[in-house]
């Protein structure tokens, strides 16, 4: 695997994390503000988004490997 390819893969990984996790965090933050619940939804949503993004990374990694 060339260094350029791995650079784009790394940028893709960081973009997946950068979009999904803050989105989940923000969603939980807004829900907490509306429902007046302490950091319950924030923690649930952020943990779920971490797991979701890890799942997406590994799924896309699998697809990439099958194609190459």
């Amino acid at each position: 695997m060339g260094r350029r390819v791995s650079l784009s893969v790394v940028i893709g990984i960081s973009l997946i994390f950068l979009t999904i996790i803050p989105l989940g965090m923000y969603l939980g933050y807004i829900l907490d503000g509306k429902l007046n619940s302490s950091p319950l939804f924030f923690i649930i949503f952020s943990l779920a988004s971490v797991i979701l993004s890890l799942y997406l990374v590994y799924k896309s990694w699998d697809t990439l490997q099958r194609k190459l």
Partner: protein, 275 residues
């Protein structure tokens, strides 16, 4: 694709996800516990980050020396680190604000202030928070992420990605101070922390240990003794022109500092290359 590249990509994704888990703890600390206003501010998220560093080292089967926490050449790097610390303070605390004021056509009023530590509970809590902060931030960004990235990506991009994430990590301060994400305050802060990430990343790359980064980060980056040379304190950006001036001046300072540290550590670099 080789086995080692696949393994390193796994390590990179673990490192980035750990940074985001630490970021979640940081957000919790800022916006739910409002801890910057409380004693031992942000100590919870720093503790979580330090534990994540330990966890990452253990689950990725790394050695502490590989991550940068070594005693190797400690005294020598302490010596160089203190020299670079004074250079950093001169460049970024004295020359940068001075040039900024000059470009704004105003003459700054000098007043050296330096708060000596007073030993009460709050200050000790804050110092311990800053000590944990060294393990957390240096370990997560430089120690684990940068060393993983540089195995599969050209060195410059490894340091760039690491310092962009380091800059984004610090934008929570602007949101906490109600300045907005797309504000001049946030831009200035992002650029400063981004430049700091670049500087420290290169120094870590040249020396191979986190001794100098930790010294500079602890005494100058976080400034626990609140050193300042001017009465007005930090420069405040209010227009696009100010932003451009700050950008140009900071870029110059970063290049000067990198040049000085490279010439100072040149011997070490040559020895490392020969190996």
């Amino acid at each position: 694709m080789g086995y080692s590249a696949k393994k390193t990509l796994k390590e990179v994704s673990v490192a980035i996800s750990f940074i985001f888990i630490a970021f979640v703890a940081r957000w919790l600390d800022f916006f739910y516990y409002n801890s910057p206003d409380k004693p031992g501010s942000l100590i919870f998220s720093k503790l979580v980050g330090s534990l994540l560093v330990v966890l990452a080292v253990s689950i990725l089967n790394l050695k502490w020396g590989e991550v940068g926490f070594t005693k190797k050449n400690f005294l020598r790097y302490l010596y160089y680190g203190l020299i670079l610390l004074f250079v950093y303070i001169f460049l970024f605390y004295f020359l940068k604000p001075y040039l900024f004021y000059l470009f704004k056509f105003s003459i700054p009023e000098f007043s050296l202030s330096f708060s000596f530590p007073y030993y009460d509970r709050n200050y000790i809590l804050e110092l311990s928070m800053l000590t944990l902060n060294m393990v957390c931030e240096e370990g997560l960004f430089r120690g684990i992420l940068q060393t993983r990235l540089k195995k599969i990506v050209p060195l410059f991009y490894a340091i760039l990605i690491q310092s962009i994430l380091f800059g984004l990590w610090h934008t929570t301060w602007a949101l906490y101070n109600n300045q907005g994400f797309f504000s001049f305050y946030n831009l200035g802060y992002f650029l400063y922390t981004f430049g700091f990430g670049m500087i420290v990343g290169y120094i870590f790359e040249w020396t191979g240990t986190l001794t100098i980064p930790i010294i500079i980060h602890f005494f100058a980056g976080d400034n626990p003794f609140s050193i300042s040379f001017f009465k007005d304190g930090a420069e405040n950006i209010t227009s696009v022109r100010d932003g451009m001036v700050v950008f140009a001046v900071s870029l110059t300072m970063i290049i000067i500092f990198l040049f000085i540290s490279y010439t100072l550590l040149k011997k070490k670099v040559i020895i490392k290359k020969r190996k």
